[in-house]
Every structure is written in C-alpha cells, then in structure tokens.
Symmetry: C2
C-alpha cells in the first residue's frame, strides 16, 4: 500500500461513483457547516454593532433577527425551486448563465469564488481565534493551528465526498445538539420565570448607552447579521453529490439546514434579550463571546459549557469545509464551459475534483499566512459576494419560469422574484454599510476575476482554432528529418545515440563544443563513425566543432540548431540528446545537468520544426 | 541589458582571466577578513573564560596572547614555504594529498569544508548580533539581516574576485585603521602615564575572583583564543587568484595580514591589561564587548567610538567572505580529483566557481535559519577543523622537503615540522577543552564527509567504467525503430507528430486512451491516416485503444510502452509526444500538463531502448 493510498485512499473506479453519493444525513455536515456555524457569529456580529445603544440595543436584536429569518425563509423557498429546476447542480452560475446570459453567470461565479475563499479562511481563523482566546498560551501557535486544520480539511476532502460527511458528522451533531439543548433549557427557564430568568453565571453588566438609536445603526447591524446567510447556496450547487432521488435528497438537506439555522437564530435572539446579554468589545481584555455568556447564563460553567463551547470552536473551524465541498464543483462547471483551466474538471483518484480542492487550499493557506492566522479584517469582504450571487440566481429563476411556463409559473416567478428583490436590496445595504470597511475590495476583485475568465475563454478559443484540423496526412513531400547529435566525448552513450540517429535519417550531424577532448574526438569520429558508415554505403555524417569563449556549452548548441533551422525552414530537425539517467535521485547532483538544460532551452527557444529526442542511458 | 547581467555583471571570456587576477591590496580584504576580524573576538573569547579569576585574570591575557602570537608566527612561516612550494594553490588538501596520501588530503579537506561553512555562519551572525546588542530595537529582524548580508556577500562573490576585493576594501581599511589608531593612542597615553593611564570612559568594575588559577582554565582560555588563527589558511589556498608573480603577491598578502593581526592582538592584550578591562558575561544585561570598553576607555564615546564599533560590526559580518573566497576554490580542486560533484569545477560567467559559492550560500543560509540567526552555539565547533587542516598541511610539507631535498631542505623541514607539532598540540588542546561544548560534533561530521567523498569517487569510477567505449559503430543489424504516438483527438498537432513518426519508421502505432472522442477518432484514423499511407504503398499504422477505469491517462500509456518493450527487448522504441507549447509561462496552467507527466514517467520508468521524442507545437 503506497503512502498516497494511505493518505488519500485507494483510487476509485468510474463505476464506483454511485457508491460515493450521499444522503441527507451526510449532506448536512458537508454542505451545511458554513450556514449552521453562522448561528455562532451572525447574532454576535449584529449585537457588537448595537453595543453603543447599551440596554436598548439588546431589544433591537429580536426584530433584526426576525428580519434575517424572513430573508432566510424567502431564500430557502427560492432555492428549493432552483434545485427542482436544475437537478444537475443549479448554482447561481448555471441559473444566471442559462437564463440571463453568460455575463451574469460569470458575475455570479466570480462573486461566489471570492466568497468561498474568504469563507474558508475566515472560518478556520475564527475557530482558532476562539480557541486562542480561551487558552491564551496557544497564541504563538495561531498560524500553525490554522494551517493544520486547513491541511486536515484538504486531505479529508481529497479522500472523497463520503469521507468528509462521515468525519464532520460528529462535530456538527454536537454543535447543533448542545445549542438546541441550551435554547430549550433557556426558553423553559425564561417561561417559568415569566420572562425574567435568573442567570446561573451573571453576564457582565450592560454597557452604558453612548449613542442614540438611528436607522443607519440598525441597518448596519442588520447587514452584519446577514453574514448568517452565506453558505445557503451550497446545497443547490452540489445536487449532483446526492444519491437518487437527487433533487429530493438535496431539498431535504436544505430544509433541515435552514430549519435548524432558523431555530438557532431565533432562540439565540430571544434568549439574549431574556437574559440581558450584550456583546462585549472584541478588542477589550474582558471580551467574551455572546454564546459563551449565554451558555454560562443558562447552564452554568460546568462540563456542558465546555462541551458546547468546544463544539462551537470546532464547527467554526470546520465551516471552511463548505467551501471545499462547493468551490471545486463550481470550478468544474465553469471549466467545462471553458472559462477556467480545463483540468479543474478532471476527477481525481477519489472521484472528487482534486485540483479545485488544491487550488482552494493554496489560496486559503496564502490568505492565512498573509494575515498571520487572524483574518478579522477579511470579514467585511464577504457577504457581498454571496448576496450578489443570490440575487443573480433568483433573477435568473424568474426568467426561467417565464420561459418554461407550466402550471405554477406565476407563483414560482413571484417566489423567486421576491427572493431576488429582497436579496438585491440586501446587497445594496451590505455594500453601503460595509463599503469603507472593505467591501470595496470585493467590488474591485470581481471585475478582475471576470476579466481573467474571459481571457481564459478567449485563449482556449484561439488555441482550438489554431490546432483544429480535419484533413488527412499529407505524405507527398516526404523528406527524412535532419538529425543533430550533440556530443562531448566518445562513449557507449554517444554510440547508442548515433546508432539511433542513423536509423532515423541518412542526414546526421555531430555537434561538439570545443574542449580538452576535441582533438581526440576528431580522430575517433573518423575511425568510429565515418569509416563504418561509408562501409555500408551511406554518406558519412559530419562533425561540427563549435567555439565557446564564454564557457557556455548549451547555448552554442541551441544557436547552431536554430541557425540550421533558419537556413532550411521547411526541413524537420531532430536533436538527439544522449543523457545519463540515474536510478536514484541523489546521484542527480553528480552529473552535469547539461542535457536537462539543453532540453529546456530547445523547448523554450525552439520552433514547430524542431523535435527533441531524449536518448536515455540508464546507469545500473 | 538583462537582469542577470545587471545583477552579476556581463559574462567574462576565458581570455579576460588575466584581468580578473588581483594584487596584494585586493587580496587583503578578500582572503584576510576572516583572520583580521578574529582580533575582534579572539581576545574576547579568552578573556571571557578568565572572568572567574577577577583582576588576576587580566594579567594572564598577556602571556596567553603571546603564546597565540608565537603560534601565529610559526604558522606564518610554514605557510610562506607552502606558497613557494605550491604556487598553483597549495591548500592543506593538496599538500597533504600529494605528500602523505589521499586519505590525509581528504581528511584535511573535510575539516576545512566544515570550518568554512561555520566561519561564514558565525561571522555573519556575530556581526549582526553585535549590531543588535547596540540597537536592541532591531532584535526581531536578526535573521532577516543575517540573510540580507549573506545575499550581499553571495552576489558580490558571484560578480567575480575583483569585485569582492573592491567592495570589501573600505570596511577592512576602516577596521584596521581605527583599531590601529586606538592602539596607538592607548599605548602613548599609557606610556605617558607610566603604565597607569586614566580611562576617558571608566570600564565596569572588575569582577570578584570566584576561582583559583589552574592550568586547565588557562589552557581553555588559550584554546578559545586560538579561534584567532582560523582564516590563515585562506591565502595559500587562493594563490591562483593573484596576478604574476603569483607566489610573491600571495606571500606579500599573507605577510601584511599576519603582521596586522599580530599588531592588533598584541596591542589589544597590552591595553586591556593597562586599562584593567575584564570581559563581561555575554549572557548578562550589562554585557559590553571588550573592544567597546577598550575604545571608550582610550578615546571616549565620541564619533570615533561609533565609527570604530561600526567598522568592527561590518568586518565581523563580512568575515564570512573569506569562506566565500576559499571554499569554492577548495571544492574545485577536490571536484577535479573526482571526490565531489564535477560541476563544482566549472567556472561561472565571471570566471569564479559559481556553484561552490551557491552551495556555501545555501548551507550557510540553512545554518542561519536553523539557529534563528544566533549561532553562538556553533563557535566551539570550529577551530578544530582549521587546526586539523593546519597540522596535516605542515606534516605534508615535511614530507615534501624530505622528498624534494634542495639547499635549505633541512631548515624548511624544521620550520614546517615545528609548525605541525605546535598546531597538532593545539588541535588536541582545543579538542579536549571544547569537546563537551560541541567539538565532538565536528569529530562526527568529518568521517561523514569523508565517506561521502569516497562514495562520490566510487560512483564516478563506476559510471565512467560503464560508459567507456572505444569501438566503432556497429551497423550490421540495422532495424528502424518502432514508433508509438499517443494521441487524444485529431488535430494539427497530432497530424504533425504522425507525419514525423512515418518519416522515422514504417512501424507506427497510434495509442489512444478511451474517452468521449474515441469513436470519432477511430473513423478519422481510417480516413486521415490509413488511407493516405496505403496510397503511397506503405502498411497502415495501427490505432490501439486503451481502457482506463481509474481515469488515469498517462500510466496506461507508459504501461503499454513498457509491455511493447518487454515483448521485443532488442527493438529500439521511440515514443513521440505531441505537445502544445505556450510562448508565455502564464498559459501553462491552461493546458493539461499530460505531455510533461508522460515524459517524466517514461524517463523514470523507461529503459535503454526507449527514446522519447518531443514534438512541440508552438502556439503563436
């Protein structure tokens, strides 16, 4: 069993594809981690903006959460319809492209690509950040832990879809379970105490109000809370990963994810108000997350508290997995259409799109390293992308129903239209509220990616036009190639190359760069080459000696070959490069790597009419 | 002008070699920095060990320095004789190898190689360390500064010998000049004050004695002070770098270096005693270097003080240059003898042995990174290597005089014999005194390097035996090669490759891995290949379709080729690989790099009878 097999699992054959498909149970951790984990930071993000309102701010969390939940419900129904309409995987890209146009599709794709990379980086660093704030002694290892988790997620995903579902099921269950229990206990206690429950661990005192309520502040809090909606797109993108009936299974998964998310968001908002918990300033030394205060207030700081907080950290870190499940699928569809490198559509050994996974891992790793594992500053950059994609997808669905018609066309158009309208407004709100904080970067990146995708498409078009051919071989002007053999001194390696050269063509030139063995080689050439060749009646090959005052060996050879080519541009040239090949890599340093350099130079500077022939000599 | 030209200078032709040779003025900074800079740390190293003796310790620095100076003088005369006897570059390696035997030569070489790498790393980090202790805010940038200096020294050396002499002349002059002025002023003041001069800046009070004088302590102090002798070998190794009369110029350079070093060592020792300056503990917060206290006591803390200290830091950091000047030359000689990779003997664009410079830079960089730029712990490792090489070289010279005889043979033998004896004793002293501190690591490394050098030599021997041949071409069984062309679909690229294939041999096989285009390709093969080939009367090439359930494309092809080879082991095979070549590197990602993978796999798994032919198609 090779190391790769051990690390990534045995290769799966094409016919094993069906067995790799998943049901809703596995679908929830694979596609839902991003959405579900947002229960941990969405309400907190909104509450943080409400800090200046003091006690008053807490009251506003309920209507803000209600608005977010309504938005979520609308988006949910829209995406159910999308899944039905596009059981082959209906991400925003496909829907927008097919119904609005290529430009809209690519716009949605660019927005989503940015969003996924950010999700992965921010998710991992948020989880690690929370852990570090709990165990400060881990601080120096922040980046190392981030990269470790990234590596883990990458490997798990490379091992295949099923594997990812299995590995992430336990933390997801723990996260959802403990939070649901917390909410249940909290709600029961609050109801029993007529809305005024006694916290077991008293949350910190409410901050004094330092600002008045204003529409702008509430809008900003809403926009921040909307980060809870990223990740909802995931299921509709990954429909193909589900087993038959795919659309039904995908819808079930989406229903469970959204249902759980709504319960969590509603419960948290309600309890935060009941227990009078305000967010604390993330910059201040007394910082504690809202959920930490909530769980402590409801259940005390016992074992349950630590299990809950632990599972939150884990799920935050693993929420990056949604990006790993979805971005490669998205890249595949775009690649098939020729707007991204084609190899992104190749299935790897475990039937997943390995190259997309690796690209995502590299980009995420780069972001993590660039920001030293602390990616707070990236948070304002996302949500814009997700909501832009939502809007385009909903808009596309409206056109879809208009085009296809059907029994419920009008109702469906209304649902998707409402979804599009609401998410469209949200894009504007988020963009305006977070423009200065960094949303402008997203606005700059999106056109950049669009340009890149168009450039890739244009290039593919040009290449396929250039190599397109549907004419038979033309064998009328059939001339043997001119063969050039560079050689240093007479040896078994040289001899083998010359024998091959003479079998290819009667026109052979030996090419030698002047050195201490030149005189000897000239004599050997006469005796060992010219004589036997003339004996069998062929014309003797020439030996050309090149001067090289700058001690370069390879460039004079390349120059000579290019000159030969220019002299007779129609003639096919073959350069035979005799080469010692070592069976062990560590011998590599012991031989002049001139053959390798020569090959590279000829490859880079060569032309259509120059073929390079490697004649390896294996040392036993 | 290309970037490389700008960075490293225009290539120099072989005939420009004479112009690159140096005189004594340039020789001093190039070969002398290591030796001269040791005036800055040698006395300090001895004094640090004398700290426990308190005021008494200072008295001992004079006899210890005297012993070191006597040793230096003996070594000096020995090396003068070596230069005369080996004007072609008489390092310890050459002298020991020619006069004692290959084993002794390689032993000296291994010891010197270790010593040079350590010198480079320790020199740079000592300079940076001194700077950091002066400007503590630079502390976080220690490693970055070390690597920056390493890069500078590397580039300067790659630019050629002359360049290095020019660049390093100013700091060397400044260092020697300011220290000589300090000594002159100090000695004059001390004489005027009848040996009891008043320091301008009072040195810290002498530490209380905490140990009694013992032979062991004095011996250890002497051994530590002996680090001042490393770097003396450099000139004799680099004789070839000097202009005519080479031996005379080299000897002049050596004389100046050793003369200056002796004056510096003697002056420092005498003044340290006169001004009652004891070393301070390098670990303690009040640490100050001996030279810093001395200059402040003699000249006060004015501009002169800062210029002197600055030039000391600079020269310490640049002392690494001696290693860069010498190690590549040493490697070249060993490589010519076949005990190190041959390419170490190639002259680069500026007539220096670029590969040795780069190897040294990489090793030094690795050490610096490994130790985070603080290499104090490496100090005990060196000196052993240098003294071992000295001893072997002196011993070799004794044999040399015995063998060659001549007028002054007996006198010469005595000089070198005395040198060998004294340095031999010093090796033992250093080894015993520093064994636990790390000299044992050197003792383990030396045999390791020896084994490596012997292995390299054996490998070269085996290879040259294997490829040796002095028989003419054998053209009696002359059979055209079997040509295999892997192809995916019909295109201009495929067509070109097949045309070339048919020009090489009448036996052509098209190899195709089953995919969505297979059916179409089969039809095209009949029409576009079989028909025209049969029309000109040749037998039609076969199209072989391979199945690949695991979606691998390259390995089925390689497997098929290896199978073909096994079936007919005597037949020469040529695999033609059609390949798209992009003119810009950034298009690289847009095409399946299958051709590259296929080439690599065939290269690694192939055999003597498989030649790989690249048929590039350049996209315009």
């Amino acid at each position: 069993m090779s190391f790769l097999d051990l690390l990534l699992g045995k290769p799966l054959a094409n016919w094993e594809e069906r067995g790799e498909r998943i049901g809703p149970a596995a679908g929830i951790p694979i596609f839902g981690l991003d959405a579900l984990s947002s229960a941990a930071y969405g309400p907190e993000a909104a509450l943080t903006l409400l800090i200046p309102l003091g006690a008053m701010g807490i009251a506003y969390i309920v209507p803000i959460s209600a608005a977010i939940i309504i938005l979520l419900t609308i988006v949910y129904f829209s995406y159910r319809q999308t899944i039905d309409a596009y059981p082959g995987g209906g991400g925003s890209y496909t829907v927008a492209r097919e119904n609005i146009g290529t430009g809209a599709g690519l716009l949605a794709a660019a927005a989503l690509l940015i969003d996924y990379v950010l999700t992965a980086a921010v998710g991992i660093s948020a989880g690690v950040g929370a852990l570090v704030s709990a165990v400060p002694s881990l601080l120096p290892h922040t980046l190392a832990m981030c990269l470790g988790i990234l590596l883990l997620i990458t490997i798990v995903n490379l091992r295949g879809v099923k594997e990812a579902g299995g590995v992430f099921m336990i933390p997801t269950g723990l996260f959802v379970g403990t939070l649901l229990i917390t909410i249940l206990i909290g709600v029961l206690k609050a109801l029993a105490a007529h809305g005024q429950p006694m916290p077991i661990v008293e949350p910190p005192p409410l901050p004094a109000a330092s600002a008045l309520v204003g529409a702008w502040l509430i809008l900003k809090a809403f926009a921040s809370g909307c980060t809870a909606l990223t990740g909802v797109e995931a299921v509709s993108n990954g429909v193909r990963a589900f087993r038959e009936p795919t659309a039904e299974n995908a819808k079930k998964t989406l229903t469970v994810i959204i249902g759980l998310l709504i319960i969590l968001l509603a419960g948290i908002a309600w309890l935060v108000k009941a227990y009078h918990i305000a967010a604390t300033d993330p910059g201040s030394p007394g910082y504690q997350s809202v959920l930490s205060m909530l769980v402590a207030a409801v259940a005390g700081k016992g074992v349950f508290y630590y299990v809950t907080i632990g599972s939150i950290l884990l799920v935050l870190a693993l929420s990056a997995n949604t990006a790993f499940a979805d971005l490669p699928r998205l890249c595949r569809i775009i690649a098939i259409d020729g707007y991204l490198p084609r190899s992104l559509a190749n299935r790897g050994r475990r039937l997943v799109y390995s190259e997309g996974i690796i690209v995502l891992a590299v980009l995420t790793g780069a972001l993590l390293i660039l920001f030293g594992g602390v990616t707070d500053r990236l948070i304002p950059l996302y949500a814009v992308g997700a909501f832009l994609a939502f809007t385009l997808s909903q808009l596309g669905m409206v056109f879809h129903w208009k085009r296809t018609g059907g029994a419920h066309a009008l109702r469906n158009m209304l649902v998707n239209g409402l979804g599009g309208l609401v998410t469209g407004i949200t894009v504007l709100v988020v963009l305006v509220a977070k423009f200065i904080d960094g949303a402008w970067i997203t606005m700059l990146l999106i056109p950049g990616i669009l340009l890149l995708m168009y450039a890739v498409h244009r290039h593919y078009g040009r290449v396929s036009q250039e190599v397109a051919d549907s004419t038979p071989l033309n064998l009328t002007h059939f001339q043997p190639a001119m063969v050039v053999v560079p050689l240093e001194r007479w040896s078994a390696v040289t001899k083998k190359a010359l024998t091959l050269a003479l079998s290819i063509s009667p026109d052979v030139i030996g090419l030698h760069v002047d050195c201490e063995w030149t005189e000897q080689l000239k004599k050997e050439w006469q005796e060992f080459v010219e004589k036997p060749v003339q004996e069998i009646g062929l014309s003797a090959p020439r030996l050309v000696v090149l001067q090289s005052p700058y001690r370069y060996v390879t460039s004079p050879i390349v120059d000579y070959v290019l000159k030969l080519q220019k002299k007779d541009p129609e003639r096919q040239l073959a350069v035979l490069i005799p080469e010692l090949v070592e069976r062990h890599w560590y011998y590599y340093f012991l031989h002049n790597q001139r053959a390798a350099v020569l090959k590279t130079l000829l490859y880079v500077r060569g032309s259509q009419k120059i073929a390079v022939v490697n004649v390896p000599w294996y040392i036993e």
